[in-house]
């Protein structure tokens, strides 16, 4: 806790943190001083001069007009917000700012939520005395996300400070000088930052507006808004989906002190189109024909009971999903229990299951400290192990950038360089699977070792040993249980260097991976698949999961062997198309429930109420199925802790979760499951190179990749290889490369010197028309 000081604001004594700036102190008190350039995340700049107040350092000291954002609170300070001189000054600043503003409010998308308008109204500046021509600018095309209207600019510098200094983007700047300042790119083109959409929020007026919102615009006050959690990665950012009539119009970040404070990534912001997508399911289907939901539920329930009777309950397996809520997955558990099967499977292969479950239980064990995004920003040493943080957990990347911006070292060990590598003090490219070895080397370097330029391990170890708030970040997306273990050991080992602890953050494949990993009853997918292939499994109940999602869009061949497959989902996936019965549920943003993020923080979320034929969330569909099967008796008395391995305290906390609160960090029983090694049965066995799946920020996530804007931002569909490997194979850039037998894709080859030697990288593109795209390229 910071020291408190007493300051007087307009005659009222307030206790505020020592050293906090006066503007923030006043805003925290719920009062407002008009301001533009100041933003809590960006800090003071002193550019707009709007937040001027009369400030005296003490009772007998003379008051001076000061910018309240630039003055730090000290004991006895007297602040006069509403002093006449300050009021007049602020009114004059308003007039200055409006001299060249186009007053095009009737056609401005910012209307209704324009900070400029709010502040000008606050200062009571109503009359224009200027009679000279306004300056004008040529706008730029900034790509599919952000619309540019430079004439509205009030030159507060927020955008450039956000984009360059906060998000560390390098394709945006301020040009010109005096009264001719221009904020934009050197030339037209798509903003390259993964966080460009925040310009829309950070701009106090309508210079940067949401281009996707424009395509189905609604006045902001006509939007209904609910509070949800973004489904596009395991960070679990809080968001405000805004909707009108029967469509989602836009998504904005919701302030959540424990997770995302002001910002969100472009994937989350522009990835909500799946709600309105043409392939969303609107009707139940049984054996290809559209059926009333009640009839379909009854028919599916009867069929499942019939199969259980005929082939035994163990012939039915439930397939849960890492993107479904705790409630939906619990309902699936109950259904399986009621049918007597008790067989539920959440993961596509045993390596993923082992990695995710191990990482989640370490996170929930309380044995290491798991940082919030704000704590990540404060780390003074960060090591990222495996994967590509930018693409796999974008907002965690943005938090890491805040640590980098303060000059702290970042180290990365991964087979392929991502966007974050440009900021790394050192990067190590290793073949997939070798990250764990590097991590254990780092952990075993003796204390006091000096950094040497050509020794990555020593360099990292030396920096790690010096750090006061070190942090290890580790990807769980690449199905490598040994890496999970190595990261855990490294974090534990490094706590031995001093009294400080080393934090550890795993980032998971999907929004609720950590949640489903805490399920007590979860079968080994490999043995389930063996049972299916052996004919011992006859029916599947699949909940919100596309079996083609992690297999390059290829459905598993055994799916067709099954007698009965019922799928509950909101969109027409390949799995839905291959199912015998389809029960539609509402989309993520229309449903409610609880999701568990990378810190094992459970967060409740709520849904939009769109008028639609489909009204039930996946959990409700499953409950209805239980009712129609009349198997409630079989599951009576099952409680949350029977399904999820959490402590009693966590259970109690979770009962009290409310939408929009800070959520609660789940703790599991202290004993960790045993570590496991990566399954050596690799699908790249007949390749001399190791296969690496590349997750891209845009296009690799299942739901967001349905958005049209996301397709524009998705990188090209190529297979990548290190120049040396390509040369050895006699392949040149652009050559056709066929990996159909290994991983089901063929695409042009791209030589990438930022990819480890001995590796072949294939992109994970889920909803892009991969075959057509690839063929077009070839």
């Amino acid at each position: 806790m910071a020291d408190k000081v007493k300051i007087t604001i307009d005659g009222v004594v307030r206790e505020v943190d020592a050293g906090t700036n006066i503007l923030q102190a006043v805003l925290d008190e719920g009062q407002i001083i008009p301001h533009f350039c100041y933003h809590e995340a960006l800090g003071p700049a002193g550019a707009c001069r709007m937040c001027a107040c009369m400030i005296a350092p003490g009772p007998d000291k003379p008051a001076r007009l000061e910018m309240s954002c630039m003055v730090r609170a000290s004991e006895g300070m007297i602040v006069s917000v509403n002093d006449d001189y300050a009021l007049k000054f602020r009114k004059q600043v308003s007039e200055d700012l409006m001299l060249h503003h186009p007053h095009d409010c009737p056609v401005c998308d910012e209307g209704g939520e324009c900070m400029l308008q709010d502040m000008i109204v606050l200062t009571e500046q109503q009359h224009r005395r200027d009679r000279f021509p306004k300056r004008t600018w040529v706008n730029q095309d900034l790509g599919p996300f952000v619309y540019h209207e430079m004439n509205r600019c009030i030159q507060c510098y927020r955008c450039v400070r956000y984009y360059r200094d906060y998000a560390l983007g390098d394709d945006f700047g301020v040009f010109g000088s005096r009264d001719r300042l221009y904020f934009g790119r050197v030339e037209d083109g798509t903003l390259q930052s993964e966080f460009s959409g925040n310009l829309v929020d950070i701009c106090p007026t309508g210079v940067f507006t949401d281009k996707q919102f424009r395509t189905h615009y609604s006045r902001p006050w006509d939007l209904q808004t609910t509070r949800s959690v973004c489904p596009s990665c395991s960070v679990g950012c809080n968001v405000l989906p805004g909707y009108r009539n029967d469509t989602l119009r836009r998504i904005k970040p919701a302030e959540q002190p424990a997770v995302n404070r002001f910002f969100m990534c472009d994937r989350g912001r522009y990835g909500g189109e799946f709600v309105n997508h043409e392939t969303r399911l609107t009707e139940a289907r049984v054996e290809g024909s559209v059926t009333e939901l009640d009839v379909a539920l009854k028919s599916v329930a009867d069929r499942l009971k019939e199969i259980a009777r005929q082939h035994g309950p163990a012939s039915i397996v439930g397939f849960g999903s890492e993107r479904s809520s705790l409630e939906a997955n619990a309902a699936l558990q109950l259904l399986m229990k009621g049918l007597g099967s008790n067989r539920v499977c959440y993961f596509d292969n045993q390596d993923r299951r082992a990695a995710v479950r191990r990482a989640a239980s370490i996170t929930a064990s309380g044995e290491v400290s798991v940082p919030t995004l704000t704590e990540i920003e404060q780390a003074d040493f960060i090591m990222v192990l495996g994967g590509d943080l930018t693409a796999e957990a974008p907002m965690m990347d943005l938090a890491v950038r805040q640590s980098i911006a303060k000059g702290n070292p970042l180290f990365i060990c991964s087979p392929r360089a991502g966007e974050l590598d440009q900021f790394a003090r050192a990067s190590w490219r290793c073949v997939p699977g070798e990250e764990a070895t590097i991590a254990s080397f780092i952990g075993s370097v003796p204390a006091g070792t000096e950094a040497t330029e050509d020794n990555f391990v020593h360099t990292v170890a030396a920096a790690l040993q010096k750090a006061k708030k070190p942090l290890i970040i580790c990807s769980v997306l690449h199905d490598d249980p040994s890496l999970i273990e190595a990261a855990f050991s490294l974090a534990k080992a490094t706590t031995a260097y001093g009294s400080r602890t080393c934090s550890l953050a795993y980032f998971f494949p999907a929004v609720n991976s950590a949640g489903v990993a805490l399920v007590r009853n979860d079968e080994n997918p490999d043995s389930v698949m063996a049972d299916i292939e052996g004919g011992r499994v006859k029916a599947l109940v699949i909940c919100e999961r596309d079996l083609a999602a992690t297999t390059q869009g290829n459905l598993p061949p055994w799916l067709s062997q099954l007698e009965f497959v019922v799928t509950i989902d909101s969109i027409e996936t390949q799995t839905v198309q291959a199912s015998h019965a389809v029960l539609p549920c509402v989309s993520h943003y229309q449903s409610f429930g609880t999701l568990v993020n990378y810190e094992c923080r459970a967060q409740a979320y709520d849904g939009m109420h769109l008028p639609s034929h489909v009204n039930l969330a996946a959990s409700e569909v499953l409950t209805a199925l239980i009712q129609h099967a009349e198997i409630e008796d079989m599951i009576g008395g099952t409680d949350f802790q029977d399904i999820y391995d959490v402590t009693r305290e966590s259970n109690l906390h979770m009962d009290r979760l409310r939408v929009g609160d800070n959520g609660c960090v789940i703790r599991t029983s202290p004993k960790l499951p045993p570590p496991s090694r990566k399954n050596q049965k690799d699908n790249d066995a007949d390749l001399d190179l190791r296969l690496w799946h590349v997750y891209h920020t845009f296009g690799s996530e299942e739901l967001s990749s349905l958005s049209t804007a996301m397709k524009e931002r998705a990188p090209e569909f190529v297979i990548e290889m290190n120049p040396e490997d390509a040369e050895a194979k006699g392949l040149s850039d652009g050559a056709h490369y066929d990996l159909t037998n290994q991983c089901g894709i063929a695409a042009p080859l791209r030589i990438n010197d930022k990819l480890a030697k001995g590796t072949v990288a294939v992109p994970v593109f889920i909803n892009l028309k991969r075959t057509a795209d690839a063929e077009a390229l070839l």
Partner: protein, 176 residues
Amino acid sequence: MSDKIITKMLPDELRQELSDHCTHYANRRVGLIWVMQQLQAHYDGWLPDHAIYEAADIVGVSAPEVEGVATFFNWFFRQPVGKKIIVTCDSISCYLGGCDNNLEHLENKLGIRLGETTPDGEYTLLPIVCLGNCDKAPCMMVGDDLHSNVTPEMLDSLFEKYNNSPVQNVLAGGTD
């Protein structure tokens, strides 16, 4: 970039020289202004679009940073300029000395207004703030030459000289 006109190549030796200069400082960025001045001299007195990217590449900063600097300072030009840049001081001492008359005369003589370049590409006419020669106001610079106590009559004889001079007075920036 691909559809932009490349005005001239940047020789490898020059690129290397500029890059080497930057290593001389604790932070390469300190060399940016000098590098941009050299590039401007190389590209006939102005910075075409590709020069912005070249400077960014040589110094190791982002292109928007270079563009931000290029558009901030008085002596970087992002449009073609004439072979000789005429800057006429219009600050207070020169104003009192009659710089407005000189400027009018100059505009008529060259057939261009402030901020423009003659169609033959010989002269660009720009205003400048105080040249630090106030006791000899009004004053102006043509290329590297400072002219004091300028009068319309003097301008006539002056331009006879410059018009006949084959020497290009391209602003070379730092010449050390």
